[in-house]
């Protein structure tokens, strides 16, 4: 379980987040949605201990993200940001192998090799594993990063806009894989998504935010309604019955 208690963050005099209280139960796929600047990524990076909150306390699986040993935390919680710029030149397999660092401290064991192979297979990267990252397309590279996070084999996986820069085909297969990671590998997956319909189609739980506050928490059926979305995004949204999940239509008011 991920709990946030009284967590707040300001950048200069811009009020970015909170104070918020939140509990995300173990298991399943949780989507953070909301307009730009709502504080979704801020909240996710605070939970992922990449950003320190001004006040409040965050625990993930019982571990306080500020005071726990980094290595213990890294065996329970992984976070992937949307931008990963580094100049190091690595093959896909080398990158995914670095995901094992919290467990092996770099000395790859047979168990690590197995976890790396599983992660590569899970993201369909087996054929690309010897390629260098700078030779891949944006979508392939994104998959390689997600494979690294899965190789880390943590109970909790946080992803900040994993669909960014992915085309239709790759976005769908990425969400389907995250769904499988939650269902088959039993992970607690939390993602920030911009496309509300992806949240409607794949999430177990939707947390909707505006202006640094949590406004709605519930299942897609509860949150994806005409009134809620129109209020949330401050733009006229009509929710229609889609195939298998509600569908938000907002392209022409």
């Amino acid at each position: 379980m991920i709990t946030l208690h009284d967590v707040a963050k300001t950048y200069g005099d811009v009020h970015a987040l909170g104070p918020v209280d939140l509990e995300i139960p173990t298991g399943g796929l949780t989507a953070l949605v909301g307009p730009n600047g709502a504080g979704k990524s801020t909240m996710l990076t605070i939970v992922g201990r990449l950003l320190s909150a001004d006040s409040g306390r965050v625990t993930v699986g019982g571990l306080d993200v500020v005071t726990s040993r980094p290595r213990d935390l890294a065996q329970r919680l992984a976070i992937l940001r949307q931008e990963n710029h580094f100049v190091a030149r690595l093959t896909v397999r080398q990158l995914v192998a670095l995901g094992r660092f919290p467990h092996s401290q770099g000395r790859i064991t047979r168990a690590d090799e197995a976890a790396i192979d599983t992660a590569l297979e899970f993201l369909d990267l087996v054929d690309l594993q010897r390629r260098f990252l700078d030779e891949l397309s944006g979508g392939q590279r994104q998959r390689a990063y997600v494979a690294m996070v899965l190789a880390q084999d943590t109970e909790y996986v946080l992803l900040d806009e994993p669909l960014n820069n992915l085309d239709m085909q790759h976005a769908v297969s990425m969400m389907a894989r995250l769904r499988r990671a939650a269902d088959e590998l039993g992970k607690t997956v939390v993602v920030v998504v911009h496309d509300i319909n992806f949240a409607a189609a794949y999430a177990d739980r939707i947390i909707a935010m505006t202006e640094g506050q949590i406004r709605y928490v519930g299942t897609p059926a509860e949150v994806i309604t005409t009134e809620t979305l129109t209020d949330l995004f401050a733009t006229p949204v009509t929710v229609v019955d889609g195939p298998g999940h509600p569908l938000a239509v907002y392209y022409r008011p």
């Binding site: 580094f86 670095l98 660092f101 260098f132 880390q152």
Partner: protein
Amino acid sequence: MAAPVTGPPPSPTPLAAGSRWRAVTGSYAFRLSAVSAVAVAAAIGILVYGNPAEPGTRGFWIIVESRFASVGTILVVAFCHGIATVIFHTVTNNRILTPSILGFDALYRVIQTALVFFFGAGTLAATDGLGKVALQSLIMIAFASLLYGWLFTGTRASLHLLLLVGVVLGMGFGSLSTFMQRLLTPSEFDILTARLFGNISASDSSYLPWGALVCVAVGAVVWRRRYVLDVVALGRETATSLGVRHQREVMLTLVLVAVLVSVSTSLVGPMTFFGFVVAMLTYQVVGTSAHSRTLPMVVAVAAATLLLAYFVLRHVFYAAGLISVIIEFCGGLIFLVYLLRKGLR
């Protein structure tokens, strides 16, 4: 991802003929041995080539022994610049700026000058040689970690800004040194110059064993942390997610860099572009960024480059004193070409 393409593209599936040969030449072990062989050959060349005495006689060995100091100095300097540049590149997440370009050795010069300026050459000469060097190095390390730690761990600055800051700091330190040197008495200035303008043929070889010892110690620490450095190279956020205390690792690495630069600068004086050139060559030869591969290779490449240059200049052109000048000239040109072609990334 803005990784510059620095290695050879992965070879397409080789044809049957010549495939074994390519597999051998493409292997890391082969490349490392080849570069090391060049270094060893150049070292042997420096030791025995043009020896006026009959081989095997006592005079012959005396001359060889006296040349050992030069080879030792070159090895220490090559080790310092090579390792310092590679780990600096890792923690600053770039492949252009090196400690020297950012003014680490200008900082060394200003500290040396300030010590003579404020305490006088007499006090410095009176204190024990090794203790003095250790103290100077400690001051250097403290300053460098403070200054560059502040630069690299604060809010993420752009490379352009860092380059600018480095150049300005280097110039500032240089002018400060020059200013203090003008106020020194001629005898103090003389003592200072002897410390500042070392070169490979005339380095103070009494510090060489200590320099080598420091290199071995730093080398052991860096080698033990090679996997941590691989993770640090992924940037602050990914490294944190993988359970590495990023800021602590960056500070530790900057301290090690300061140690290496002060050892090298105290032996042979500043060499601004040497580290850049050998690191570039290493990335080309190795292909990947895994530190278990780049660290041994950069030492081999740096040693081969410097030994070969020294051999050619000393025994072919009889201009051993010019080695830093030549390396700076060529290195500077390569740096400029690289900047203009690839831009700051």
